[in-house]
């Protein structure tokens, strides 16, 4: 694959990098591969990437039967099924979230956010956290949207509070939790309270530690002079889906590998010890990366575990897991994720334990 970094790599990622996508009528007749102009020698005229893809696809198609036979190892099939199922389950939410974030990036003026959120960061955090109620969808959606908010100038701490609360307190998750634990509305309430608390506390912590330090990379913006809003929308959407999607698959690969290799007996032997049970389920939630709409059902099926441990599973899962971490690295940078994930994990765990002890 060609090296894509250009001599302009010094461009700060966060600035509005104008994209010169205006029409150039004189070049419309010639296709990308045939034109003779050579502005940068690193740009090939032949679409090597596409050609390679096409050839590989062709080879795979021709060798399909042989491949199916060779790959028919039951363990490998299970792994692939689990991987594909996580990805397929996530794709609609990813697409939905990205389209929403691209809409925010392209069509909502920055002034809207300045007016909508309180100036004071300490007040913006709870406002943004409570706003998480409006975004149905799993955590795959919240990362691109939060990235968009940061692009639009929203205070990072508030955007992060939103990122944490949206997957956990939106109506779909609340309903699924109610369905998973029939006749136990206190579970739904506990989940809501613990998750919102987590979002707010992490948001406020971030205000503190983020002061004067640039801890997250502002996601690249495609807006700029001379670029139509639809073009910005399209570029943002395509960019976000491909990048977040890649990390989604990466996280899913790790989750599927552990899913297929980890014996369930180990998990159950732990259930008898409450503190260990809570910690193990929290870690399990991180590793297994299940969409927040569904983790209530998984929690409900873990009948061997105490209720507080299962609450920890439901509170930790939507805010920190392998899939999310991978996506956050892609959108906000590695340094961000290295700081953010542990803080979130600890806060979520503590909130779940406290709320669980109080309400359950």
């Amino acid at each position: 694959m060609e090296d894509e970094s250009s001599t302009r790599a010094g461009l700060p990622a966060g600035d509005n990098a104008a994209v010169a996508s205006s029409d150039q009528p004189g070049l419309e007749e010639s296709t990308a591969s045939k034109t003779s102009e050579e502005h940068e020698s690193s740009r090939s005229r032949i679409p090597w990437g596409s050609l390679t893809l096409g050839l590989v696809a062709l080879a795979l198609l021709i060798g399909q039967d042989w491949l199916i036979e060779v790959l028919a190892i039951p363990r490998l099939q299970t792994w692939t099924t689990v991987l594909v199922s996580i990805v397929v389950q996530a794709v609609p939410f990813l697409v939905m979230g990205v389209l929403l974030s691209a809409t925010i990036s392209a069509f909502v003026p920055p002034s809207f956010f300045e007016k909508a959120l309180p100036k004071n960061p300490a007040a913006a955090v709870p406002a943004a956290g409570a706003a998480g109620v409006v975004l149905p969808g799993c955590e795959c959606a919240s990362v691109p949207v939060a990235g968009s908010l940061v692009r639009r100038g929203v205070n990072p701490a508030a955007a992060l509070a939103f990122l944490l609360s949206a997957p956990a307190i939106n109506p779909i998750v609340m309903i699924s939790t109610a369905v998973a634990f029939p006749g136990q509305p206190e579970v739904v309430g506990a989940r809501f309270v613990a998750s919102l608390l987590t979002a707010l506390i992490v948001g406020w912590i971030w205000i503190r530690i983020g002061k004067g330090r640039n801890l997250l990379r502002t996601p690249q913006s495609f807006a700029g002079d001379g670029v139509s809003k639809w073009e910005t929308f399209r570029l943002t959407a395509a960019h976000d889906i491909v990048h977040a999607g890649g990390f989604l698959v990466l996280g899913s690969i790790v989750a599927a590998t552990i899913n297929v290799l980890l014996p369930e007996e180990m998990v159950e032997a732990v259930a008898e010890r409450p503190w260990l049970a809570i910690l193990v389920l929290a870690i399990f939630a991180v590793v297994v990366s299940i969409c927040s709409e569904a983790d209530a059902f998984v929690a409900a099926s873990l009948t061997a575990f105490p209720m507080t441990a299962r609450l920890a599973f439901m509170v930790v899962g939507p805010v920190v897991d392998i899939k999310l971490i991978a996506m956050q690295v892609g959108v906000f940078g590695r340094r961000f994720a290295a700081i953010f994930a542990p803080i979130t994990f600890v806060v979520a765990l503590v909130c779940a334990v406290v709320v669980g002890w109080w309400l359950l």
């Binding site: 302009r8 102009e37 039951p74 006749g183 491909v242 698959v249 297929v260 014996p263 007996e265 892609g330």
Partner: protein, 239 residues
Amino acid sequence: MKRDVQALVLLTMGVVIWRITWSDLFLNYVKEPMRPLLLVSAGLLVVLGLWSLAIALRQPAEAHSGAGEDHGHDHTRAPKVAWLILLPVAAMFIITPPPLGSDAAARDSGTQPLSQNSDGGYEPLPETDGPITLNLDDYAARALFDGGQSMTDREISLTGFVTESESGGWYLTRFVSSCCAADASAVKVEIQDAPSPPVEQWVTVTGVYTDNGSTDYTKPPAFAAQDVVAIEPPRDTYL
């Protein structure tokens, strides 16, 4: 990742997901209610892919030498990771991973994915001519948590696939999933009084409830078989 390749990745994602959703193959991985969501998002991916492809082909690369989509990135990792999208896409397209089967069931340990009916008590089964068809998890829950009381003196018909049991007998097995195959757990019922069909074979077993002689909820309930019939795998293999 070059602009045209990005567009192709999006397009391929959309097309492959559309294909497996249109054809019921998606039921190997996720549940039926996901169908409209998958169709819509696949459609959107195709539209986005075609749109981006059209623009990428019309405008040669140097038109974007000002600042293309990868300029300003201070990392080259993300574009490379994005190639991973093609892994599940290729898997779906080329080998179509099968629904979970005996391998996954064998590694699934004791606890059945059943939650005790918190209302207490199970509804009596409706009257039928001939055997009543129950879902395997329904039967297992009634057997384990209700002592089979709602099923006495009834002929019952159960469907699942065959897996081996440790004691040399066989289980009728089915996967229960709440979200998708990733969180699926196996429900197993030990079949007595019938020789084992080939492993992985889907069968319908007709018979009656019988006590498995244990109060341990993790031990599979038992079923006394009167008749075993081989069948084609159902459209949706998960419960």
